[in-house]
Symmetry: C2
């Protein structure tokens, strides 16, 4: 049977010959204590290796100093492009302020807000970070209705007023289009997500803005909406290649690196070479992207910054401090590699 720890404030007090209140005051520097007593308490605490119980402290303060985070699990043929850096930067930012991240699974069935409710009602967390939000997101609805602290990585309904940090998705695809235009492309297609994806609609919008800014017409056949998978990306590329030569796009912008890879594979299947015959641009800049053949031009999201920012904002909310900016949009960066072709 392991012990864990068991030295309490009482023992420190006894060893230093003072009351537990004094020990608490010394350790938290929350009351004037004579230098001599202070030194004695500190010494006793150090000798015993005393660390205050986070549990007792939390109970008393009614603050768990914990932040909840859950992510959507994806099937094994896909991946979560940002989980690692996002979670890591959140953990770092939280720990710098004495908080910790509690990760929980999103059960496949049942109301999506259930686990949030449970954590909230049992007082296990002081707030939540959400990611992969969408329009009518039931989790946001729930937290908003119950006035519980949270910050989202991603937006939702325009009319819902809640704090979020998001990447300027439209700017990302706009930059991709601008880059392709600069390379001389005029017929640029987009492999987009279904209409129910809010993030997808921002990215599509960026494409449209980019085309409009360049004064290029958009053939409706160039906008392919399909699900987020490699196979879908491949099929979409097949459909684009089936267009008559004068309408066939010479470049394709996609919603994700996964779909970009599908698109490139679609080109190979047709005997074409990505980056030479047709340019392809992805979104996410997963680590693999740079090692693909050809290396993938893609839009990199400032994931670590988002992670640090959402935590910073959430802690302000939890502490009741004013929140200077409730809605933050961070710019992505276009990483140019060979899949978009040579200049």
């Amino acid at each position: 049977m392991p012990k864990g720890n068991s030295v309490t404030i009482r023992e420190v007090a006894r060893r230093a010959g003072v009351s537990i209140a004094t020990v608490s005051y010394v350790l938290n520097e929350s009351a004037p204590i004579s230098e001599e007593t202070r030194a004695r308490v500190l010494a006793a605490a150090a000798e015993l290796g005393y660390r205050p119980s986070a549990l007792a402290r939390s109970l008393r303060a009614r603050q768990s100093h914990t932040i909840g985070y859950s992510w959507h699990h994806v099937p094994r043929d896909r991946w979560h492009p940002i989980l690692d850096p996002f979670l890591y930067s959140m953990a770092q930012a939280a720990e710098a302020e004495g908080y910790h991240i509690l990760t929980f699974a999103q059960p496949a069935d049942g109301d999506p807000w259930r686990p949030y409710q449970e954590l909230m009602l049992t007082g296990r967390v002081d707030g939540f970070i959400l990611s992969e939000t969408n329009r009518d997101d039931p989790r946001i609805r729930y937290l908003l209705d119950h006035d519980f602290p949270f910050v989202a990585f991603g937006r939702a309904n325009e009319e819902w007023d809640f704090p979020y940090v998001d990447v300027d998705n439209a700017a990302g695809t706009r930059m991709a289009v601008e880059h392709l235009v600069k390379l001389g492309h005029r017929r640029i297609a987009v492999i987009a997500w279904p209409e129910d994806s809010l993030t997808g609609s921002y990215r599509l919008q960026g494409y449209l803005e980019g085309m409009a800014a360049a004064g290029l017409p958009v053939d409706p056949a160039w906008i392919v909406r399909t699900e987020h998978s490699e196979a879908a990306g491949r099929q979409a590329m097949g459909a684009l290649l089936a267009l008559p030569p004068d309408r066939r796009p010479t470049a394709v912008v996609t919603m994700s690196d996964l779909m970009a890879i599908g698109a490139m594979n679609g080109l190979y299947e047709a005997g074409l070479q990505p980056g030479r015959d047709v340019s392809v641009v992805g979104f996410d800049d997963v680590p693999m992207a740079q090692y693909l053949r050809p290396p993938l031009t893609t839009v990199r999201q400032p994931v670590a910054e988002v992670g640090a920012k959402v935590v910073e904002m959430l802690l302000k909310i939890i502490r009741g401090e004013p929140l200077p900016e409730r809605k933050v949009l961070l710019p992505p960066r276009l990483i140019v590699r060979e899949s978009s072709g040579r200049i």
Copy 2:
């Protein structure tokens, strides 16, 4: 200022017209209570939406019902091949038993066991899951010395007695070699990790066993030890290709998908085609592997099973239940795709 929750057992007791002890007994079914009272308490609790405070409960029980997990952060040009499925399966397994996973960051500097110590002494967690263990792992040493509950995904020094679950790495590379031998290869190389990697030494050992079992000699030049990166894999392949034709390997086993990708890129650079001119096998089966050109033959680790198992074992330890098997080795699976060539 958000409220969180605040309905306590006291209010439930008042509403049901009983003492708080009775409420507790009803809710935990830990004492005989008349059916009538039971119903009244349950009704009161439901009407108030009462959920017991996890904090108070933990303090009283001296159990946080929380498990700590930390992972090594990697630079952006690499990735953590198993974080998502591993963390997810752990969270699921833990939650089924009323536990949660606390994730924390490993600071770049300082003793690696510091964050473990902090969490342990403050009573925030009841135990830890470790991953990416190695020989002389200071975290294992620390937890062992302090007799604190933990289970590792991965092994360490033979003489250290601690509970772990690991994938049978040797079996993985052995299967890879067998597969290649079956395809007719006789000169099979391995791109391995530096000697200080314990996991790497198991995987190398499996390669050696596979070669021995097939009665094939191993040319020392076929064993290239190098760091875990795409560039290293590429250079290693270059070195292998530089061997004289009669010593040049026709197949290569690698320690990871990342290095396999490097190896394949090395082949392309030399104007060769992976899977046709030289076979390549990876390790991990990252989601990308199947979309590579050619799709990568690789060893898949049963990550979700490991996650469920380590949690199951840790909870047994925490609860003081007997642990039937302290050292578990799970078999990996070879996923055959085209990078290893046609039969």
